[in-house]
């Protein structure tokens, strides 16, 4: 393995990780409110196809990315209406949204499969920062959405742990009854958190179809939404750790697709299995510290809230 190849893997890894970081940070915000959203995969798909279609029409990747956010947030709204409004089971509702998102994105994208987009996000070298040896090329010679990802991670961490609304969010996820008793609207908080998570998932999808691999094929995300959900557990619901994990997973993905370049001759099908197997392996390893992880999980995660039932 040449130093150049290692560098290439890290550069591609940061890009591949950005998709996961967006989705995982969004899911952290959702789960911090006590709502489990297993529909991330479906929301990413809808975000990806919407972003791609809008960009195809007007040639503005930024507008495409924003459209992806809105589409993801709309899917989040649907999840919230069901699990918060109708108090439906959060696991099944999320799965239904994965299936729905799969179908909707496939339907919407029928006409653009394999078409090249008119414009994409291209790398921008940040002045000064990009001239740092090695790190500059890995971290600061990326496209604008990667930088947006850095800001988002820091912002999400600051929001969740250092602001009043973030405290309210966490209290709703830990004990909705208590939060309700002190006058925090559980319903409103959960609606906003789920929509916010959906929006980030949509952005993650749009990043995939507009920057990381600018194209659309059905089922483009290929399980990345589920990897993002696993990352949330790995990150103990902390955005900073989610970033660390996301970029690490991105590097694994980037490495596995370059294995043949480093002389490992295994069929592409086995190479493609690596990110999934790696995710399962990580879940196994982190389960050793099971107690801390269980304590880190929002206590009310997965439970619906009805004010008059106790």
């Amino acid at each position: 393995m040449t130093p150049d190849l290692v560098l290439t893997i890290f550069i591609a890894g940061i890009a591949a990780g950005t998709t996961l970081v967006f989705a995982a940070v969004g899911e952290i915000i959702t789960e911090r409110s006590g709502v489990l959203n297993l529909g991330v995969e479906g929301m990413m798909l809808v975000g990806a196809v919407t972003g791609f279609l809008v960009n195809n029409q007007i040639g503005q990747p930024w507008i495409g990315a924003i459209a992806g956010v809105l589409a993801g947030a709309a899917m989040g709204l649907v999840h919230a209406v069901f699990v918060v409004g109708f108090k439906t089971n959060q696991v099944v509702t999320g799965l239904a949204l994965v299936i729905f998102g799969n179908g909707l994105s496939g339907y919407l994208g029928t006409s653009v499969v394999g078409e090249p987009p008119p414009a994409t996000f291209d790398p921008i070298a940040l002045p000064l920062l990009s001239s740092i040896p090695v790190l500059g090329r890995i971290l600061f010679n990326q496209d604008a959405l990667v930088y947006a990802g850095y800001i988002l991670v820091a912002g999400a961490w600051w929001f969740v742990f250092r602001t009043r609304p973030g405290l309210n969010l966490r209290s709703v996820g830990e004990s909705p009854e208590t939060a309700d008793a002190v006058g925090i609207s559980v319903v409103k908080t959960r609606y906003l958190a789920v929509m916010c998570g959906g929006g980030f998932a949509g952005l993650g999808g749009a990043y995939l179809s507009l920057a990381q691999a600018p194209s659309w094929v059905p089922n483009l995300t290929a399980g990345r939404g589920w990897i993002a959900i696993a990352l949330v557990i790995f990150a103990t619901w902390n955005p900073l750790r989610a970033a660390l994990g996301g970029y690490l997973f991105g590097c694994v993905e980037a490495l596995s697709f370059r294995l043949q370049a480093v002389g490992v001759d295994i069929p592409v099908f086995f190479v493609s299995m690596l990110p999934y197997l790696f995710t399962i392996a990580v879940l196994v390893v982190i389960s050793r510290g099971n107690l801390t992880r269980r304590l880190a999980a929002p206590a009310a995660l997965g439970n619906s809230f009805a004010r008059e039932e106790r």
Binding site: F82, P218, N290
Partner: protein, 386 residues
């Protein structure tokens, strides 16, 4: 609770006992509403609703050919639906039935290619066994992780779907690829003795009987055996089961093995009864639709059968859509919407809407009784995270 001057507004009151008639009504209503939504969607995109729904009906229930196709699509759904249902009886979410289905096909194919000349009465049971081993092995992984390490089974079982599909992809592109398939990812055709017989002169294969027997057997095991009783106790109250001395870890693994084996037999009957060889894309999402089937059946093995027929018809109707120039993705959306409506309708099964202000004679007690809580808990179970 409020004064007489309070404005009249709807209020949800918990039912003492979930309404049975409402439950059936909600499911039927969910299907009707989903089709109305689909009709609006088609109208908005400028399609002829009559033509499209007509084609869907003719292709599924409306013609003898369609009926056979519907049953053929329902067979794998019965197996994946049973797989999800039995796992959920212990509050386990096996959302890996898709991968277990592929591995079942893998196991059955390995047997079929190893001893192609064996007589059918030996080969077919061995292929079923191969399917059970393949599917069971795939479900064993999330099962043992859950039992020994406390890893939630949802994400591992789902991720293994991708791995299983890739494994079959590899086999049909490589070791099992048919030299006469001109590069298409197909395996060699099965020998006659590796092919399930059809029932009479219909297109329906004997897997239909296996599927119905499986549903009956699972139902009996759950309701009539000691083991089935333990499984239900663990599912409804793990703490009580623990005090009673039932090994939760061992039963988690056992139930996941059984669940995976069921999905695996689904894969076996599909390759042996329908495709007659191994190939890529043997499933249009049978494992995922199985989750919907099991949920709508309220995880009852016997109710899985009729609901699998309905969703089999939907899948077949989806193929029909392609003949009128629409992507079959619409059927995926339709499936999800039916499930979502049925889930939302569950609110009206558990609660009733009270329009009058103030306290009426039928006001619900403030504190639900214990059986009521359990009924509510079993209707909307929560999962542990992590």
């Amino acid at each position: 609770m409020s004064r007489a001057s309070a404005p009249i507004r709807p209020r949800l009151v918990k039912r003492l006992v979930p309404s049975r008639s409402m439950r059936i009504g909600v499911r039927a209503g969910a299907v009707v509403c989903a089709f109305i939504l689909a009709a609006i969607f088609l109208l908005l995109t400028g399609r002829s609703v009559g033509t499209i729904f007509g084609a869907m009906w003719d292709g599924s229930f409306g013609s003898p050919y369609g009926q056979a196709q519907t049953i053929l699509a329902a067979i794998p759904l019965i197996f994946t639906g049973l797989a999800v249902a039995i796992a959920f009886r212990m509050r386990l979410w096996n959302i890996g039935a898709e991968g277990q289905f592929y591995l079942g096909a893998f196991g059955a194919t390995a047997v079929a290619y190893a001893i192609p000349t064996a007589p059918a009465f030996i080969l077919l049971p061995l292929m079923i066994l191969g399917g059970m081993v393949g599917g069971g092995a795939w479900a064993f992984v999330p099962g043992i992780l859950r039992a020994r390490l406390g890893v939630n089974e949802i994400v591992p079982s789902l991720l293994l779907n991708y791995v299983g599909i890739l494994l079959v992809d590899y086999m049909v592109h490589g070791p099992w690829s048919d030299p006469q398939s001109f590069g298409f990812p197909l395996g060699k055709p099965f020998s006659d003795s590796a092919t399930l017989p059809t029932l009479g002169d219909t297109a329906v294969h004997a897997g239909a009987i296996v599927a119905i027997l499986a549903a009956l057997a699972i139902s009996l095991v759950l309701s009539r055996t000691v083991w089935g009783y333990r499984v239900r106790v663990i599912g409804e109250n793990a703490r009580a089961a623990n005090y009673a001395g039932f090994s939760i870890a061992r039963n988690v693994v056992a139930i996941m093995l059984l669940s995976g084996a069921l999905a695996g037999v689904g894969g076996m009957v599909e390759v042996s009864g329908v495709v007659h060889k191994i190939q890529a894309n043997i499933s249009p999402g049978f494992g995922y639709t199985g989750i919907i089937v099991a949920t709508l059946a309220r995880f009852s093995p016997l109710a899985v059968v009729p609901i699998a027929l309905l969703f089999g018809a939907l899948i077949v109707a989806g193929n029909e859509l392609q003949t009128v120039g629409l992507p079959s993705d619409i059927v995926l959306m339709l499936q999800a919407v039916i499930l979502l409506f049925a889930l939302a309708g569950e609110l009206f099964v558990q609660y009733r809407v009270q329009w009058r202000p103030g306290s009426s004679s039928s006001a619900a007690p403030a504190i639900p009784s214990e059986p009521e809580r359990q009924a509510a808990a079993s209707a909307s179970p929560s999962i542990e995270a992590g």
